[in-house]
Point group: C2
């Protein structure tokens, strides 16, 4: 375990992640307090939100998370204590991700699901949690692909890799430019990702030119020894007026 | 309806699809006989396979398919009659897509699902059917994104678009080069795809250089008036020895 923590430290240090002290992680439980999904709400478990009638936050440990996933989660949670990194909550309806002031634009449909949260069984779909570092314009996602994401036998489908990269890099673009849409996503698939493994998706906004946000991303194994994928993306910043027009023209 | 059929005819004619006679489509049922998913098996309905203890073929009409989807399906089915186009069956376990002789390499896991068939409820996930034209090195996919594929409110997630493109273009690469893996996928997202709409994903192998297969793809509305996405891809042909080594190194 120490070797793995050391390897993780080295892998992340290469990308400039701060404060990774080997051995600080908890074991099989989420030891540290996580930032609340909503102000004032405790959220040490995934069920916390739903118990209080709030939307359930899925970016919290559950029984399907492997030891690697829990260790990484706890290490990132430690890094949130100084406020530089923040955990991003995750709900299964996109409207729960949108500020209250903007929700009036949309009618909430109960039959829709955010694509990444469309598979109910814990551990079968996208198990992931994202952490944001605003000052570095960076979002890191811890991702454990489940058995329902299969492409080649035993490995995650290229579309599921594209999906988690689009979401991670998109969250990074949103943190920089607010409401955005993907204009281009280009992915080099280097090594396949085994189902049930854990990978780090590390995205960064490289440049902003007017309404264009250019980003890049790497997907690596926890020990940093395997590069699974690299990606670049262009996102376009939308203002509310343009977004409404675009929506109207497509309906 | 005639206008739509005419628009479809024009849209597909631009891409060189043969024999689209306006008005030939059926209404709310799959009128024509479909090519059997397995030799000798009738497959006029999605349940045909499972009734005989075979894997269920999901690339057949179900109650969630819209009129646009059914019309398109029937038009493509008509085009299979001269043997130039073939419908590609679709199962929810990847091993059912692999020739018997290659299955010995893999252990069948009952808990895995092909990513695109991971959502059980009809109409909620990826509703699609692909048609192959071997002589044109081309695969066209009819795609109706369901309510569980949401990204921006009311629209298909960019990851779900990438997934159906990767699968369509991948099927095209397989038809040209056998066992392949995605090396690069680059997508330009032009206009968002409304949930429940129907789009055509039209892919083509442009060039083969050694083990490299270069492909391109367009995603358009049924009437051909809206370009939703364009993509290019590079797939690498794998031989069995290399594939086994790659699998072993990742496990």
């Amino acid at each position: 375990m120490w070797r793995r923590c050391g390897a993780l430290g080295r892998a992340l240090a290469l990308r400039g992640l701060p404060g990774l002290a080997p051995g600080a992680a908890g074991r099989r439980t989420a030891s540290g307090p996580s930032p609340p999904a909503r102000p004032g709400l405790p959220c040490g478990t995934a069920a916390a939100g739903s118990q209080l009638g709030q939307s359930k936050d899925y970016a919290l440990p559950n029984a399907s998370w492997s030891q690697d996933m829990l260790d990484l989660y706890n290490r990132f949670l430690d890094m949130t204590k100084d406020g530089l990194w923040k955990r991003i909550p995750s709900y299964n309806n996109i409207l729960d991700h949108i500020p209250e002031s903007m929700k009036l634009t949309y009618e909430k449909r109960k039959d829709t699901r955010l694509f990444l949260r469309s598979i109910d069984a814990e551990g079968a779909g996208f198990e992931y949690v994202m952490f944001l570092n605003t000052s570095e314009k960076r979002v890191v996602c811890l991702f454990q692909p489940g058995s329902y994401l299969e492409g080649h036998p035993g490995f995650a489908h290229g579309g599921s890799i594209a999906t988690i990269i689009d979401s991670t890099i998109g969250s990074c673009a949103i943190s920089v430019a607010g409401k955005v849409m993907t204009a281009n996503l280009s992915i080099d698939y280097v090594n396949p990702v085994p189902l049930g493994s854990v990978v780090l998706v590390d995205s960064k906004a490289d440049k902003v030119e007017g309404r264009k946000v250019f980003l890049s991303c790497k997907m690596q194994s926890v020990d940093g020894n395997t590069l699974h994928a690299e990606a670049t993306a262009l996102f376009i910043q939308l203002d509310a007026t343009k977004a409404q027009k675009q929506q109207a023209s497509c309906q």
